[in-house]
Symmetry: C2
């Protein structure tokens, strides 16, 4: 396989873009990524999107967005893996360029979900669970988070407040990110007073859904430097799955797909987890953040929350996460989230993260989950020296 | 890139499977394909599906079906390109194996659309068009077919009855296929008396939507013969796009994506269109069949229908198409159609097409369209000698 690099990144702010259609959001991100790369045109477009069919009533986004972005004729397809659609689309783009099938590919993640009634949006989100066994009972993703968190509290005997460090860190970082959806900071104590969403998940445990689009341009590393001064090498790429319904997992507190995907991506990159300078992980729920830190080997089972409590996850800590606010503060535009993560890691390792810069960051991990770990897409991105 | 072959094929009958869920249909096809290959297990699963989100309210089919098929942990994603989702999923599976990223991949196309009211189904199908410009006006896919056909009749001055040969051929072949949805034959004269669906498209011009699933197992050609006596080599694979909305195309009667995709697939295979023994093309409408024959170079513009009128498209003609009934008689399970086509071409070049066998078939083309040509997936399959 050919070595592949990211030569351009772009994104829109995450928010409630009532005035901007799904296709226009995607276009803005693609244009920004091309501008960043200084190149125009690509041979393929992979679209990460989760709910465009149910909410915008628009399928077939590959051809639609390729044409709308002025890339008529190119190879194009939409990739769906629930909330991991962005990471899965990045994986397809990576493979396409790595294989030699195409020389330059655009990956865009896009989601338009807020211009709906709460009822419509929640009904669509039931489709992100196992519809027959979970969704049919009204188990929305927030309830899945509640089940996981309840089990974590029970199994490890920790207090609900143990998770507040994740939200405080996310908002501290998001407050400095002009593309973040909620730029307020949280102080210790806010968390304990937050209203419940799906007991024990409170308003500060769960990430807000938002509209947005992010894009990256991929090219063979061999040529990357001809185009841009700071290519970001995809040193490792992997996608793995686990049972979508929680009842089919051997343990609620083991994210098997995360272990598999991160393990493979690190192995491909030839590095260990301690060689990773930052992680954009999938903090749709604080408990998911804790579990991911445990699965990647940065904390023992039941102790992921301690990294947050100790401040290890802050920008200058030993394990920075959610450096632009994560899903919690930057916002969670489902099928776009995985591409936002890649853009953010790329900016970090390029040293262009501004007020959110992790000092000396050279290598980062983008970890995008769908279905609370049913799909895990892991990408190790590093500065091309 | 590594050379890739199909080492197993499987499918369910196409029909109204009210009693069988989407996941169970997919499972049946995957099991049949594994059984055909004599192998078990694969490292990746690519799912072609168009309307599962809107109609079954189930997203995230990659992880869901991987787990349901006993492939927990594997790389998995759903690929959507409207009615070309099956062909696009095959393309992703091909690239994944060709790249070396995975050693064995399953591609399954699945669709469950009939257990719905006509109103619900038509509303979902609006999402297969450009929703903002076509769907919003109530322009369902049948109406798109009507616009194309009206233009064809006008531009080339041919009569509506000129197209009946396509339907007669499809039903003659489908009548012998136990997996076909409508196994009745059509006689000359039936066509002229058929009720209108979307003037001038009549009931015999348009393919029926159906439920079904089809699957193929892909492996490197290098190892294919270790597993099966009759591997089918993917000699050429390509995916191309065109504008989804008809108003953005330079000509309604030019399917630019078909030209691009078929041209690339033939070039990769190192053959010309006259080296192709049969074509499973996308006869969702008779006019689309005529246009595809013109685009691939088997007929001059405006003369595609003549191949049907002359009988050239029958099993023993010089350009056999829809050899198992095509979309018209076998049925059109949207996102599964492209994989059915691949299975049917594979059976033909393996010499296992039974009563539908094209004499001496060694090489065939699977041509799957979405959005009336907005996406075209072309695969040249040949018997591995």
């Amino acid at each position: 396989m050919r070595d592949v690099s990211i030569i351009g990144v772009g994104m829109t702010p995450v928010g409630e873009h009532y005035e901007t259609s799904l296709r226009r959001l995607a276009l803005q991100a693609v244009r920004a990524a091309f501008a960043d790369s200084g190149t125009t045109g690509a041979a393929a477009l992979f679209v990460g999107n989760a709910l465009g069919g149910q909410l915008s009533k628009q399928e077939h986004l590959g051809a639609l967005l390729a044409d709308y972005a002025g890339m008529t004729g190119v190879e194009a397809a939409r990739v769906d893996a629930g909330e991991a659609s962005g990471g899965a689309a990045l994986r397809q783009g990576y493979i396409a360029v790595a294989s030699g099938a195409v020389d330059r590919a655009v990956v865009v993640g896009v989601e338009q979900v807020t211009d709906q009634t709460q009822e419509t949006r929640l009904a669509a989100m039931l489709g992100l669970t196992d519809r027959e066994h979970e969704g049919a009972q009204g188990v929305v993703p927030a309830a899945i988070g509640g089940l996981l968190m309840r089990r974590y509290l029970h199994e490890y005997g920790v207090a609900l407040e143990s998770f507040e460090g994740f939200s405080i860190n996310a908002h501290a970082n998001g407050a400095r990110n002009p593309n973040a959806m909620y730029r307020n900071t949280l102080e210790p104590g806010h968390f304990a007073r937050a209203p419940m969403v799906a007991d024990p998940v409170n308003l500060f445990d769960i990430a807000p859904e938002g509209d947005g689009a992010a894009a990256v341009i991929l090219a063979p590393t061999e040529y990357a430097r001809d185009w841009v001064p700071l290519p970001v090498r995809i040193a490792g790429s992997a996608l793995a799955t686990d049972a979508l319904p929680l009842h089919d997992r051997s343990s609620l507190l083991t994210l098997a797909a995360v272990k598999l995907a991160v393990g493979r991506a690190l192995e491909q990159a030839g590095v260990g987890i301690n060689d990773i300078d930052l992680i954009e992980l999938h903090d749709a729920f604080t408990v998911l953040a804790a579990l991911q830190l445990e699965m990647v080997g940065l904390a023992a089972p039941g102790e992921g929350w301690k990294l947050a409590a100790e401040g290890a996850i802050s920008l200058d800590g030993r394990a920075p996460i959610s450096t632009f606010g994560g899903l919690k503060s930057r916002g969670n535009p489902f099928g776009a989230t995985g591409v936002y993560q890649a853009v953010e890691v790329a900016l970090q390792v390029r040293g262009q993260a501004g007020a959110n810069q992790v000092p000396g960051a050279r290598r980062g991990l983008a970890l995008n989950l769908g279905g609370a770990g049913a799909t895990a897409a892991a990408h190790v991105l590093e500065r091309l020296e």
